[in-house]
Symmetry: C2
Subunit: 251 residues, 2 copies
């Protein structure tokens, strides 16, 4: 089955308090519409904008922020912002703190980003609850279009070992984040092992290819992907820290 | 621009010595054809099969393999196979060795895989030189179809922090593996920082969504993705070990 990855143009600048489901619904209606099974991928940035998830202008750095600011050569207020969003600092290196966010995501600088923050500028935080945002958008869009949909809230993360960033799924609704081939048998009768595919991340990476950062396309539709209906959650994609061997101190 | 991710059916079982470019060319000709700019994504497994990259049946484990076999509870000959393909062992954990392969890829068990190995069974090694394989396929397919193409040789890797596997690019030809937005300016005049997107990995992840492991679809075409012509190399995607902070011992 051929997939289509469709950019959704026409989402206006999202401001705090905007009804994102209405804005995305309008853009879908004016564009590709919504068909049963469509996976709607939404940049976390617009979710944060609608929810007013902006960083406070000038947080007062505490002693840990001051210490990490010296270690990373980052401004101490910026470090304090990262700490406020984090449950654990995994690594401090020049210009970067790799943390576990309060949601459990491991990423640089708690995903706080100053680019594409809108005319108001400032820094955007990750959505408070990406799964809830995905579920809410899914409910509203399913109601509007009368078809079953999946919604993924996506952001752009770095990763160890490999250069360059890729889009991953933070919030997931309507689809299992991981497709599990374990126990299935290949065409030669060999039982497949260890092949749990992070399809939600792959769908977000596919969508990134049409979500042009410079052209303000914060939504894309993946059409034609077959999957069983499911509640889904982005938390499925978080490794158990106990077997997450590359966490510092655990190797 | 809407992308199409097209599975390419009809590639027969690939045997050692087969001319993979001819087999893929026939399958393309019988299917979606090839259009200028198409990105042809090929599972590394069929590249390995054509090149006869099969593991020796019973390598004799040396002392390091014996030690790591005890540590990982893996069979010592299997550990020796992994060591033979690796330049460094990064981590030994129950049932897994994470290594840097002789190519520089960081992955579990040097990418050696016993599933979908074909009727002969046994274990397949990663291709000897994935970039060269991609370039060779690109040259042959461009010659056959008379259009400019890109070719990616892809495999399925795990990653720290996030559960589930995703497809990444090992070999790259005809496209830059990373798209660099640094220095460009967002719609509000904010200069984008640190946004180098690993598009070759994202293209491979997109292709994985149609490359069904159980249905023998080892090739997919991504059609409609705009990119400047380039030589390209999968090595661009390998982090410099000196700043690869999550390598054990470097944190």
């Amino acid at each position: 089955m051929t997939l289509s990855i469709i950019p959704v143009a026409g989402v206006p600048e999202v401001t705090e308090g905007a009804d994102l489901a209405v804005l995305i619904g309008e853009a879908l209606a004016a564009g590709p519409g919504a068909e049963a099974g469509d996976v709607v991928v939404v940049a976390s940035k617009v979710v944060s904008k609608a929810a007013g998830r902006r960083a406070p202008a000038d947080p007062v750095p505490g002693p840990e922020a001051e210490r990490l600011a010296r270690e990373t050569e980052m401004p101490a207020p910026q470090v304090q912002l990262v700490l406020d969003e984090s449950s654990e600092v995994l690594l401090a290196a020049p210009k970067v703190l790799v943390v576990e966010t309060r949601h459990g995501f491991v990423c640089a600088n708690a995903g706080i980003d100053r680019s594409n923050a809108g005319p108001a500028g400032g820094a955007l935080l990750l959505p408070e609850d990406p799964d809830a945002a995905a579920a809410s958008l899914r409910g509203a869009l399913e109601g509007r279009f009368g078809v079953r949909l999946a919604v993924l809230v996506s952001d752009t993360f770095g990763r160890p070992f490999r250069d360059g960033l890729v889009n991953v799924a933070l919030g997931v609704a309507g689809i299992d984040a991981i497709r599990d081939y374990r126990g299935e048998v290949d065409p030669d009768g060999f039982r497949l092992r260890g092949t749990e595919i992070a399809i939600a991340d792959e769908l977000c990476s596919a969508a990134e290819l049409v979500m042009e950062k410079l052209a303000k396309v914060p939504v894309a539709v993946v059409r034609g992907y077959a999957y069983p209906p499911a509640t889904g959650s982005g938390r499925t994609l978080l490794r158990d820290p106990a077997t997450d061997y590359f966490r510092p101190g655990r190797a």
